[in-house]
Structures are given as structure tokens and as C-alpha cells.
């Protein structure tokens, strides 16, 4: 067997491990093993590449390659190991961005390398697509990171004529691609690179903080496609397979997420959602009465319930109250209360983020239920307790056609016999909309920091 055939077989092996990993994610039981198998497959591919012949000679600059890998690894490992789970979306955004940047650089370098051989038009097209998509992913992810890390405002950044300007930048980029295809000019390639960078920034700026999760999964898909494009240029099936898998997964998740918010993808991307505080909230929170209670009140209510549904939101993670919430749930379960955690698909800051945050607090995954199941459990629940969530339980999404979140599927906390709402203040949530549920006669509001309130509740349940 020739050297090249052997290497190609090893690549086939590693492409298979990627599929095995994705299949493993079908259940929490096999997921971790699958990921480790994929990591092994990746290692095999990398080692095999060291033995590959390019342009008829063994790999040059092996020392440089190892040095660059070393630099990358010593930055990546500690970052990945020690970042807080609440900061996970930022981290995924960054790792995604650098991947896009790498794909773009690979395409450029290959173009510089082969341009003297006057490559076929379709090869140049692959290069240009790789550069465009990869760079948009790179700069877009950087802005998404800045928004999530609160280095800049999470609100949509808008300016007059924004959509027209963005569309023009996009058109100029396309025109540039055509020009380069015809002329084969490297100088224009740098212009395209700069333009793609601007396009990524301009594309992400008007997207509000609440919509960034959808954006990240879209950018993930972009990087996948950029990798696939590089695969075409370099003639690598491995890159095409891996890139396409990621592209498909990103697009699928993006669609799921926008569906979970009851909005179309174009609405998420182009409407600058959340930039205007709606006039609907003007009737004033203080004008209407709410029923408030103490941790002791809710301890009694919870202890004597037979079924409790907990509805956590990102606010839970912000006040770092996951552990206490789990403690409370275990106490109640010990008293014979059935406890579920109802997870809205867009709770948290990336798809499925809330599940990870609760898993970190040792909540068994069997207790986490999805929205549809939650809504059927809530019909027979005695208590629904909302902790740090707001928009995902707002009845306006079903009742008020004028509400900006109208059409978003919600968790119907109001189906339960009693509703407990842990809230920092009467301030409206992420989307800036007043919540009717707060004024429901079934609802008891407990003001204060969620962790504080829950700790007191735990003590009260223990004492009872």
C-alpha cells in the first residue's frame, strides 16, 4: 500500500470518528465517550498529516508547525479548563471565530501558493468563498464575544440606513469576487479580506443580546462551510466531510432556536430586536397590585405540594443559585414531592445552556424536562416556581398580538395551581416587556436575590 493510500485511510477513519461523536450526542450516556473518540480521530489525522507529501516533497517547516501548535495549545487548554460555565457561550464564540480565521488564512495561503500556476476558475472561487465566509465568521464571532462578555452594549447597535449600507457592502464583496475571478489579482484578495471583516462586524452589530445564541450557532455553521470550502481547495475529503457536518448542525440548530422564539431567522438577524422599549409597558408597574411573600411562605407552599415544576432562567445562573436550587429540590424530593426542572429551549445564552448549568450543579439529567413535557406536567402541578426567568413564561407571547414576543412558545407556568416568582425587582426582562404573570392572583412574588431567597427557603423547609 502506498503512503498516500494509507494516509487517506487514516483520514477516512478520523472522519468516521466525527460521525460517531455526533451520534454519541444522541444520549447523555454515550456523549462523553463519543467526544473522546472524535478527539482521538483528530489526533490520528494530525499525526498522519506529518507524513504527507505535498508538491512531491515531505512537509517543510515541521519545527514551525510544532511551535505554532505548542503556542495554540498552551493558550487553549487553561482557557478551556478554567472558564466559568456561565461564560461558555463567549468561549464557544471565540473558539468558533479562530476556526473561521484559520479557514480563511488557509484559503489565502493556498491562493498565494498556487496563483503562479494560474489555477482553474472554480479553484479560485472556492478560495474566495473560503476567505469570505471564514472572515465573516471570525469578525462576527469577535463582536458576539464582546457582546456576551459585556465589553460592549448587548443592545442592538443601529444607525440610519444600516440595512442599506450592509446590503451595499455585501454587494461590493460579491462584485469583488467576480472581478478577482476574471482578473486573478492577489491585491484585490486583500481588499476582499478587509471587506469581509467589515461585513462580519456590520452583520452582528444590530443583533440584540437575547438573539446572540441564534447568531453563534449560525456563525458556527459559517465556519463549517468555510472549512468545507478549504477542503475543496486543498482536495481533502476529510475537511469537506467535517466542515459539512458542522455546517449542517449549525443550520439545524439555528432553525430550531428561531422556532423556539417563534420568529423567522430573517427576523432574528435583521430586525434589531429589543432596540426599542415598547410603549406597552407604560401603563406602569406601580399602578397594579401584586401579591408578595416571604421565603417562609413559599417553603410551606412547596413542602405541602405533591408536584412542583421549577422554571429556571439565566437569572438563576447570574446569581449563582443552581446549587441551592438543587438542594431545595432534593429536600422536597425527600419529603415525597415530585420535582421537575422545566427547560425552555432558549433559556440561557446558547442552545441548551441551562442544561449545562444545571448539570454542573449535579442535577440529574432525568429531572430536566423540555417545554412540551413541562406544559403537560404543569396542568397537574401544585406549584410552578419561576427562578430568574421572565420572557419564557410571559403569557403575552400567547395572548397579546401586539407584544414583540407574540408567537414565541412559552412555558405555561400559570397552568399550575400556584405560581411562585422569584424576582430581583419589577424590572422587565431581556426583551423589555412587562409580564402579565406577575399580576396573576395565583402568583406570589418574592423579591430579592435568587440565591438569598432560596437559601432562606431551604432553611425554612428544613425547619418545618
Amino acid at each position: 500500500m502506498s503512503r498516500e493510500t494509507l494516509i487517506d485511510l487514516l483520514y477516512l477513519f478520523s472522519a468516521t470518528t466525527f460521525l460517531v461523536a455526533l451520534k454519541g450526542l444522541g444520549s447523555p450516556k454515550h456523549a462523553r465517550k463519543g467526544n473522546l473518540i472524535a478527539a482521538f480521530g483528530m489526533l490520528v489525522a494530525i499525526v498522519a498529516t506529518f507524513f504527507k507529501y505535498v508538491d512531491g516533497h515531505a512537509l517543510h517547516h515541521v519545527g514551525l508547525i510544532l511551535l505554532a501548535m505548542f503556542i495554540g495549545a498552551i493558550i487553549a487548554v487553561p482557557t478551556a479548563r478554567f472558564v466559568e460555565m456561565t461564560a461558555m457561550p463567549q468561549l464557544v464564540a471565540i473558539f468558533n471565530g479562530v476556526g473561521g480565521g484559520a479557514a480563511s488564512l488557509v484559503s489565502i495561503t493556498e491562493f498565494v501558493h498556487i496563483k503562479s500556476t494560474s489555477p482553474a476558475t472554480y479553484v479560485t472561487l472556492e478560495v474566495l468563498l473560503g476567505v469570505l465566509i471564514g472572515t465573516v465568521s471570525f469578525s462576527g464571532s469577535a463582536i458576539a464575544f464582546a457582546k456576551l462578555q459585556e465589553l460592549m452594549t448587548g443592545r442592538p447597535v443601529t444607525y440610519p440606513g444600516q440595512q442599506v449600507i450592509n446590503a451595499l457592502v455585501g454587494l461590493v464583496a460579491l462584485g469583488l469576487i467576480v472581478t478577482i475571478l476574471v482578473s486573478g489579482s492577489t491585491a484585490l484578495l486583500w481588499v476582499l479580506l478587509a471587506l469581509a471583516f467589515v461585513l462580519g462586524v456590520a452583520f452582528v452589530l444590530p443583533i440584540g443580546g437575547a438573539d446572540v445564541p441564534v447568531l453563534i450557532s449560525l456563525l458556527n455553521s459559517f465556519t463549517g462551510l468555510a472549512v468545507a470550502a478549504s477542503g475543496f481547495t486543498l482536495g481533502s475529503n476529510l475537511l469537506i466531510i467535517a466542515g459539512t457536518l458542522v455546517g449542517a448542525s449549525g443550520i439545524l440548530l439555528t432553525r430550531l432556536m428561531s422556532k423556539a422564539m417563534g420568529r423567522s431567522l430573517s427576523n432574528v438577524l435583521f430586525s434589531a430586536f429589543g432596540s426599542v422599549v415598547t410603549a406597552g409597558g407604560a401603563e406602569g408597574a406601580e399602578a397594579r397590585s401584586v401579591r408578595s411573600g416571604t421565603p417562609e411562605d413559599i417553603a410551606v407552599l412547596l413542602s405541602f405540594a405533591s408536584k412542583v415544576v421549577l422554571i429556571p432562567g439565566y437569572g438563576l445562573a447570574v446569581s449563582q443559585a443552581q446549587q441551592v436550587l438543587r438542594e431545595l429540590a432534593e429536600l422536597l424530593e425527600a419529603k415525597g414531592v415530585q420535582v421537575f426542572y422545566a427547560i425552555h429551549p432558549v433559556a440561557g445564552r446558547m442552545p441548551g445552556h441551562m442544561n449545562v448549568l444545571l448539570a454542573e450543579a449535579n442535577v440529574p439529567y432525568e429531572d430536566l424536562i423540555e417545554m412540551d413535557e413541562a406544559n403537560s406536567e404543569l396542568q397537574t402541578a401544585d406549584v410552578a416556581m419561576v427562578v430568574g426567568a421572565n420572557d419564557t413564561v410571559n403569557p403575552a407571547a400567547t395572548n397579546d398580538p401586539k407584544s414583540p414576543i407574540y408567537g414565541m412558545p412559552i412555558i405555561h407556568a400559570d397552568l399550575a395551581e400556584n405560581v411562585i416568582f422569584l424576582k430581583r425587582s419589577m424590572r422587565p426582562g431581556f426583551a423589555g416587556i412587562d409580564n402579565e404573570l406577575l399580576y396573576n392572583p395565583k402568583t406570589i412574588l418574592v423579591f430579592g436575590d435568587a440565591k438569598d431567597t432560596l437559601t432562606k427557603t431551604v432553611a425554612a423547609v428544613k425547619a418545618s
Binding site: 455526533l22 479548563r81 473558539f95 488564512l105 495561503t109 472554480y122
Partner: protein
């Protein structure tokens, strides 16, 4: 042009197979899915190694060197973070005996 067709075949088939597999991932694992697929596109490292390994000019060397650094960040960080996340997903069984004996759920 035949090669192009072969690549396109791989792309189309992978897109369908991938969609089938990914659609079965439960929403509880969507974050690990994102971060795991994020690690998988780190395979661009193979491409980065090839362009640096065949670099003939200083420009190519600099660009390729940067590409290898970025790709390594992507692949190493991606797998480590995914593993850390998945490590946390535990079922009911491995919990401390004290709590599991108390909480008998039907």
C-alpha cells in the same frame, strides 16, 4: 472537473447524513453539540499544516504559521471544553448514596 464532482458528491451525502444524525440530538445536549461540532471544524488544522508545510515564500510562512496557531486553539480548546461539559452530565445512579436512598421517585 471530475474531481470537483467527486467532492460535491461527498458534500451532498455528508449534508444529508449529518442532518439525520444531528436531528436526533436531544435539546438537553445542544450546548455540547455546538461546542463538539466547533471542535470538529478544528480539523482545519490539517489544512493549516499542509499550507505551512508547503510554504515557499515568507508571506506564506507567516500566514500559515498564524493559521496553525488559530486552528490549534480551535481544535484543542473545542475538545477540552466539550469534555468538561459532558463530564458533568450525570444520571441518577452515581449520586451520593445518602440522597439516592431518600429520594425514591416513581
Amino acid at each position: 472537473m471530475n474531481v470537483l464532482l467527486q467532492y460535491a458528491t461527498v458534500l451532498v451525502l455528508t449534508a444529508f447524513v449529518g442532518t439525520e444524525i444531528i436531528a436526533k440530538v436531544p435539546s438537553i445536549l445542544h450546548t455540547p453539540l455546538m461546542s463538539g461540532s466547533n471542535a470538529i471544524h478544528g480539523v482545519i488544522l490539517v489544512g493549516a499544516m499542509l499550507v505551512l508545510g508547503s510554504a515557499t515564500t515568507n508571506l506564506e510562512e507567516v500566514l500559515g504559521f498564524l493559521a496553525v496557531i488559530l486552528a490549534t486553539l480551535n481544535v484543542v480548546g473545542g475538545f477540552v471544553v466539550t469534555d468538561r461539559m459532558l463530564e458533568m452530565f450525570r444520571g441518577r445512579k452515581p449520586r451520593a448514596p445518602t440522597t439516592s436512598s431518600e429520594s425514591e421517585t416513581p
